[in-house]
């Protein structure tokens, strides 16, 4: 079995697992990014669509793997560049996205056809205490990330005097020993700068996102508010752990760029790259554990007996018309919120495309990206 084939099969497996698990990560009231009243979360139309989608995604994954193996046997080295190597996985990802969109459309159609919201009173809820008595975020969890940054800086300072005149370059997480750049303070300490940027940006992003609109349910106002507080308090942990893991990956990459043994030398490039990726894989596992134990807005946290018996005359307002591309894109000009909870894809946020600040940011990034690329060349 050749290395490109192994890479392809791994990528196909990853895409299939992601495509299969995506509907499981969302809240029961948001199947495939469609808002449904609480009583319809287990409707036969929704359950049937979930099963059909899972079967199709797994079937497509198996088909893609079989085609890749056959193509590899027929033409042992059909791959030219790394971009082409991932072609089967990218095609599969596109097909999975289309299947997700199809399931989204079917549920929306069933909802409209059967009038799931008929006779309900729609509303929205807020908990003022989430603003006046803010959740204290456990910032000490960021200490490991800072320690890894300091350790990298210390190794860099100790190693700087003994560095060769040229250094290998990094292509993603792989190191190309034949493509070399001149050793300067900037090229040598680039990994430390990346770590510093990550260590500063992640808490900043956390602080901004935890102040975004709480994702509460008008059908269970008290229970959803209590769980949201617990969710906010726990959210810092996977973010801080992920930052520490990312910094550790950069440290391992830096040791290879600084040609420090044993990562550069006795260890072959393949295993060295795999070892560099290992902390990031650990971070992904931590996110999945958080997702399946806490869930978006804390919906997987157990409800107290009072919360389980909680009743409200309202159901959460139906706002599908503001969500586009199967519930991945939000655009609402009348909503003052800049960041909103993503409907699909776990505990993530998205920006309101109807907010002027979003377009200002997009314009700024569009202008700055070419400048940054020019500056680094």
């Amino acid at each position: 079995m050749t290395m490109p084939l192994v890479t392809d099969l791994l990528a196909i497996t990853l895409v299939t697992v992601l495509g299969w698990s995506l509907p499981l990560l969302t809240r029961p009231e948001l199947p495939f990014g469609v808002r449904v009243p609480p009583g319809y979360a287990a409707d036969p139309a929704v359950v049937g669509e979930r099963r059909r989608h899972a079967r199709r995604v797994l079937g497509l994954g198996a088909l893609a793997a079989a085609v890749t193996v056959v193509a590899s046997a027929a033409a042992p080295d059909p791959y030219g560049t790394p971009a082409v190597t991932l072609a089967p996985a990218l095609t599969l990802a596109l097909a999975d996205a289309l299947l997700y969109g199809l399931a989204h459309r079917r549920i929306r159609a069933a909802k409209a056809r059967e009038g799931w919201y008929a006779g309900t009173r729609q509303g929205i809820t807020a908990d003022t205490r989430l603003r006046t008595e803010r959740v204290r975020l456990p910032w000490p969890w960021l200490a490991p990330a800072v320690l890894v940054l300091l350790a990298t800086a210390a190794v860099g300072i100790a190693r700087y005097g003994g560095l060769p005149p040229t250094l290998p370059t990094a292509h993603g997480l792989a190191v190309d020993a034949s493509d070399r750049v001149r050793t300067t303070l900037m090229t040598a300490f680039a990994p430390v700068l990346v770590q510093a940027a990550l260590t500063l940006l992640m808490p900043l992003l956390t602080a901004v996102l935890t102040r975004a609109r709480p994702d509460l349910d008008a059908a269970r106002p008290a229970g959803s508010a209590r769980r949201y507080r617990a969710y906010l308090a726990r959210l810092v942990r996977p973010i801080a752990f992920g930052t520490a893991c990312a910094n550790l990956t950069v440290l391992l990459l830096a040791l290879r760029l600084w040609e420090t043994r044993p990562l550069a030398g006795p260890l072959p490039p393949g295993p060295a790259t795999a070892l560099t990726c290992a902390p990031l894989a650990l971070a992904v596992v931590a996110w999945l554990v958080f997702e399946f134990r806490v869930g978006q807005a804390g919906h997987r946290l157990p409800a107290t007996p009072e919360e389980a018996a909680e009743t409200s005359p309202l159901v959460q307002r139906e706002d599908d018309r503001h969500w586009h591309l199967a519930g991945f894109v939000y655009a609402n000009r009348t909503d003052p919120a800049l960041f909103v909870h993503q409907r699909s894809g776990g505990p993530t946020w998205t920006m309101n495309l109807g907010h002027p600040a979003t377009w200002t940011l997009i314009a700024a990034l569009t202008l700055l990206a070419p400048l940054a690329l020019t500056a680094t060349r």
Binding site: Q122, G123, T125, P313, P336
Partner: protein, 150 residues
């Protein structure tokens, strides 16, 4: 406090916000000195324009239930323990109550039924007060017992 708005109601949103805050003060959920979110924060949380929240806060300020200043934001000014209301309030309130009771009479609701329902609503306002008083009494009793043991 939980602030739920009914999007299908004929009552304007600003009026619903004002009503929910008044109810929270009456039930003791908000007491004198309790802070309220800024108009922008509450507008974002409820996905409404902050001018709508501003209108609700302005009503509450005119009624003397909250005070608003630039430094501390909106803060509850009165609660059931703040003493009797200021002069024009009882007469104004009675005029509104008359209309409300007239609606019940016009619809043919029995007077005993009206009294029963009014009593039920009043009980929800005093329930929290009683619970707090009982809790305070229990805590005081426990403290005294512990003191006596020592």
């Amino acid at each position: 406090m939980q602030l739920s708005l009914d999007a299908d109601s004929e009552t304007p949103i600003y009026q619903q916000i004002r009503d929910r805050i008044v109810e929270a003060i009456a039930t003791g959920e908000l007491v004198a000195g309790s802070a309220l979110p800024s108009t922008r924060q509450l507008g974002t949380d409820l996905a409404i324009n902050f001018h709508t929240v501003n209108k609700a806060y302005d009503l509450l300020r005119q009624e003397g239930l909250i005070r608003v200043n630039r430094k501390s934001g909106a803060v509850v000014r009165r609660d059931p323990r703040s003493g009797p209301p200021e002069a024009p309030f009882p007469d104004d309130w009675q005029a509104r109550l008359r209309t409300l009771l007239a609606e019940a009479a016009a619809q043919g609701v029995d007077q005993d039924e009206v009294r029963r329902r009014v009593g039920g609503v009043l009980d929800t306002f005093t329930a929290r007060d009683l619970t707090e008083t009982e809790t305070e009494t229990e805590v005081e009793a426990e403290t005294k017992t512990e003191g006596a043991r020592a």
